[in-house]
């Protein structure tokens, strides 16, 4: 025998390392499942939070797109010393003369109340109001009719009403085929239409609308507009806003309050995203706890499996092979948890988004980020136990019974 022939190296093919890791987990199914579950919950929470916030944001953008952001709402300012300020009667005409204004519609409060029938005590208004409305109010708000028709030239002077969605519900009107009527201002008013929810002006959801003519004739209303809805060409909205107050009420421009309803929707979104960050934080904590769980299970595993470590060293495994095997197990656990978490998170997103009628959006960054986070946690959690396993001396390991 010559000393020149060298021994072939100890080798562990990646596929064999993976198999060894897989068998390690397979022999301890329940424990493996439970420790992967920790990671799974964390990843699922983060994917679902990101998915839901994206889905709801895309819904909001679609909503803003549909409703337009080029609408201003003009009201008489209310405040100390102002009393109940009013907009001048001629304000509608004045505003419509501003160049880039496309449409103006007004509503005017009345003192009338609306009830289901004439037997309801007068105090039980259900929080509903009666307003006189312009004929192009619905177009200006980009609203839709749920049923029936909006006020039109002819019926505007007759005692008929169009109900907001909440008003219709509270008055028990669900169906127009049987020509229902409501008790309004001391008379029966046939309901000719029910509006869909108005995202840009939720206060009108709780109103019964009548024409200005009818309000004047039957309800003894003054016809002074309380609120103007102004559509402008989108690129000039800030300019219009700048001159609006002085145009509406040249004498007291400070008593005019101008808002942009689409801002409220955007603010709601901002509030939502604050919650999103909070939930992301909670998801991260869950993930961290999951990682600690894996590290814990791996440390126990190394202690329990000293015999196996000794055997593998006797079979020719190097320290590195032992470390790779245990690191592989931890990585595999985390990856199973990560994949499960992404699937679960996407499932939750899909279920909730379809329940809310949103487009289902699971952002790629959440999927990739979730898997990367799982892998990183797997490596970090597995590193110490793997190094400990590699350091076990084979004679010590084989001595254990």
């Amino acid at each position: 025998m010559t000393m020149t022939d060298t021994i072939p190296r100890s080798r562990l093919a990646p596929a064999d390392a993976l198999r060894a890791a897989g068998i390690g987990l397979k022999t301890r199914r329940l424990r493996s499942f439970l420790s992967a579950l920790g990671i799974m919950i964390g990843i699922a929470a983060m994917v679902a939070v990101l998915g839901l916030s994206d889905s709801s944001r895309s819904d909001l953008l679609a909503q803003l797109d549909r409703l337009g952001t080029n609408m201003l709402r003009v009201e008489a300012g209310q405040g100390i010393g102002l009393g109940s300020a009013e907009l001048p009667v001629e304000s509608v005409a004045m505003v419509s003369r501003i160049g880039p204004v496309e449409t103006v519609a007004s509503v005017s409060n009345t003192d009338a109340k609306v009830y289901r029938n004439d037997l309801i005590p007068s105090g039980q208004t259900g929080g509903l109001t009666v307003k006189a409305a312009d004929l192009d109010l619905l177009d200006t708000l980009q609203g839709q009719m749920a049923q029936g028709v909006f006020l039109d030239e002819a019926p505007a002077d007759f005692p008929v009403t169009v109900l907001g969605s909440v008003a219709a519900q509270r008055l028990g009107i669900h169906d127009l085929t049987r020509r229902p009527a409501v008790w309004l201002g001391g008379d029966w008013y046939p309901v000719i239409g029910i509006m869909d929810t108005l995202d840009l002006s939720p206060d009108l959801d709780r109103a019964a609308l009548v024409g200005y003519g009818a309000a004047d004739r039957f309800l003894d209303a003054d016809g002074i507009p309380t609120t103007l809805y102004v559509r402008t060409r989108p690129e000039f909205i800030d300019d219009v806003r700048g001159v609006m107050a002085a145009t509406v009420n040249p004498e007291h421009p400070d008593q005019v309050e101008i808002t942009r309803p689409s801002d409220a929707l955007e603010a709601r979104e901002a509030a939502d995203s604050a919650f999103t960050n909070l939930f992301l934080g909670l998801g991260a904590v869950a993930l961290l706890v999951g990682g600690v769980g894996i590290a814990n299970v791996m440390v126990i595993s190394v202690l329990e499996r000293r015999g196996e470590i000794g055997l593998r060293r006797a079979l020719g495994a190097t320290r590195r092979h032992i470390a790779i095997q245990f690191l592989g197990e931890s990585l595999l656990l985390a990856a199973i948890g990560g994949i499960g978490g992404v699937v679960l998170g996407a499932g939750v997103t899909a279920a909730y988004a379809s329940y809310r009628g949103w487009a289902i959006l699971v952002p790629q960054v959440a999927v990739v980020g979730g898997l990367v986070a799982a892998v990183v946690i797997g490596v970090v959690a597995g590193l110490y136990p793997a190094l400990r396993a590699a350091r076990v001396s084979p004679t010590e390991a084989l001595r254990t019974l």
Binding site: M3, G316, H321, S393, L398
Partner: protein, 229 residues
């Protein structure tokens, strides 16, 4: 000299402590190709230490150890691992089978660290299981086998790579006397087929079955019994 598979020259092993323990105190031993040797001694005689040093799982404090022609003191940890992967087979008292694997895969694991492909490993493992008489138990999980069968699987794992030497540490220690006798018979048969085997045991009766016995006491070789020619 050429057919010496394992050689120990003045090997000493001292475990530090107060007082230090002289587990091996100047052991000289040669095992030649094709031999079947029993190393026998009472507990505390240094048997386990001797097995670990012969198997390169531990290093001698001084003295020279050669395995398959390699001077072990020249080799680093990775080379020693390679030596174990290719040249040495182990059989342990506690079998050390992997619970989640079939008998076949447990045997194939004897070749895991040689870099051989899985298909080839299983092919050789099938042959080895056949040699130990467990061809029909191939797909049984290790946990479903009897003690004697488990030790046969462990022996198949030790011989599957046709190592230069097989070291068996109390191979019958966890078995009833009948299964133990079967295992001794199997070891003799494998030796007849050409495998070099060293069996470490405290059991004189078992040692008496083997052609050459090395008696160990207090870390020293007390006597060597050789077969009469």
């Amino acid at each position: 000299m050429n057919d010496v598979v394992l050689g120990l020259e003045a090997v000493r092993k001292i475990y530090p402590g107060t007082p230090p323990v002289h587990a091996l105190d100047g052991v000289d031993l040669e095992i030649r190709r094709g031999e079947l040797v029993a190393v026998v001694g009472p507990s505390g005689s240094g048997k386990s230490t001797l097995l670990h040093i012969m198997g390169t799982l531990d290093r001698a404090t001084d003295g020279k150890v050669t395995v398959a022609g390699y001077d072990v003191s020249d080799l680093g940890d990775r080379k020693l691992s390679a030596l174990r992967a290719h040249k040495i087979g182990f059989v342990f008292q506690q079998f050390f089978l992997l619970a989640g694997e079939s008998a076949l895969d447990n045997v194939a694991d004897g070749l895991l660290y040689t870099g051989m492909a899985l298909g080839k490993r299983r092919e050789l493992a099938t042959e080895a299981l056949d040699r130990v008489g467990l061809a029909d138990r191939r797909h049984h999980l290790a946990t479903k086998l009897s003690g004697g069968e488990r030790q046969r699987v462990a022996i198949a794992r030790a011989v599957v790579g046709r190592p230069d030497i097989v070291l068996a540490d109390e191979p019958t220690g966890n078995l009833d006397s009948r299964s133990g006798a079967d295992i001794v018979a199997l070891i003799e048969e494998l030796n007849r087929e050409g495998t070099t085997i060293a069996v470490i045991t405290h059991d004189r009766e078992i040692a008496d079955a083997f052609p050459r016995q090395v008696h160990l006491r207090d870390g020293k070789i007390e006597a060597t019994t050789r077969p009469r020619p």
